[in-house]
Symmetry: C2
Subunit: 200 residues, 2 copies
DNA sequence: CAATTAAATGAACGTTCGTTTATTTTATCG
DNA sequence: CGATAAAATAAACGAACGTTCATTTAATTG
């Protein structure tokens, strides 16, 4: 056996990415072997090395693509001239929708950041900090124009993000609440955190 | 070489627990070898098996002790006759103090829960659910006696816990804010989340 | 104080790991 | 359409893994 009929490089690479994403999210980077990723993809372990130089590069690829997609998606969703309350609502809705549809990516981007070595780690961390600067900027603007009453912009930003991300650990699509309901609910919770006047 | 002068079973077991705690928190369960734990303890890998039957048991021991200590500490700190606002403040302060002084335990109890197999997993998960029921009970009591205006008790509980736990990922003792300041700050944030009247 | 138990070593066990290599088959392209 | 590149297999590499074992030494106990 060797190259199989109909095999295509880009396709296999994508299947490998998907398998790795699924397995890393389920069991963690260190606990997943190259052979397991290969098996999930329907290929031999050696074949992975036609597409990714090392296991570390495979993880790095996943996280890099995830963070860059996140950032560019936000830049599309962002509406720069909204007043802070509407801007914050826009961010919350974006964040929830984006993260709930990519829960595995989000999960490993938090859990496996530490599995990245050296500059891979720093690069992803920098992208994350950049993302976190978006809500913080909204909070600061709202604090200075009086639409928010914020206790501490830095801590409140981290509190909001932690609160939103926490959702991915318990939200299941088939639960008590629909995605729309969750979204509306978190919008109100966040409005409370920033001391927004007049909400309900 | 064999048994070393002055060696003591309970002492070594404790050193092993500490080393495992530190290494699991830093690199994750699957990425840490028994040899690494042994080296950190100043012992050979084989010696671990005088104290713990398997690597899995070592992790399970750490998480089990952590969760049981957490629960019994709360039972000590709990003041059952406080009105909901004071009870919630008491919980927040307890949670922050407890978690910041045991950040490694908390970290692995969230990150490595999935590394536990079968009934080990279920047992820890049950203890966690029990812990989460404490704040939820306070919220429900406050909602029914009118001291809180809660959007959704279940979601708000999870939001509060996620918010509080998130702190352990960025709080450093030498940062801008002291532990006391952080504590006071989160008390106010939580009061906002539950729609507590009259706070600042 | 002799016998026993506890605690450790160091070497070895079989497995699995990430990765490499030689080879083969398929697709692509001048 | 023949040469070349791409994509896969299968086998092998040495290293590292969790764990076991025989043995040795120290502490404990009758």
């Amino acid at each position: 056996m060797a190259r199989r009929a109909g095999s295509n490089g880009a396709e296999t690479a994508e299947k490998l990415r998907n398998a790795a994403l699924e397995l890393f999210a389920r069991s963690g980077y260190a606990a997943v072997s190259m052979r397991a990723i290969a098996a999930e993809t329907g290929v031999q372990a050696g074949a992975i090395y036609n597409h990714f130089p090392t296991k570390q590069d495979l993880l790095n690829d996943l996280l890099q693509v995830h963070m860059e997609t996140l950032l560019s998606s936000w830049e599309e969703a962002e509406k720069p001239d909204l007043a802070p309350p509407a801007a914050l609502e826009n961010f919350v809705r974006f964040h929830i929708r984006y993260h709930l549809t990519r829960s595995r990516e989000v999960f490993i981007s938090y859990m496996e950041l530490r599995s990245l070595e050296g500059e891979n780690f720093s690069a992803i961390e920098a992208l994350r900090r950049k993302y976190e600067s978006f809500p913080r900027a909204i909070l600061e603007k709202g604090a200075s124009d009086g639409s928010f009453d914020i206790i501490d912009p830095q801590v409140t930003t981290m509190a909001i993000i932690a609160m939103l991300n926490g959702m991915t650990t318990w939200f299941r699509g088939n639960g008590r609440l629909s995605l729309d309901e969750i979204e509306a609910l978190y919008v109100r919770l966040v409005a409370r955190l920033v001391g927004q006047k007049k909400e309900d």
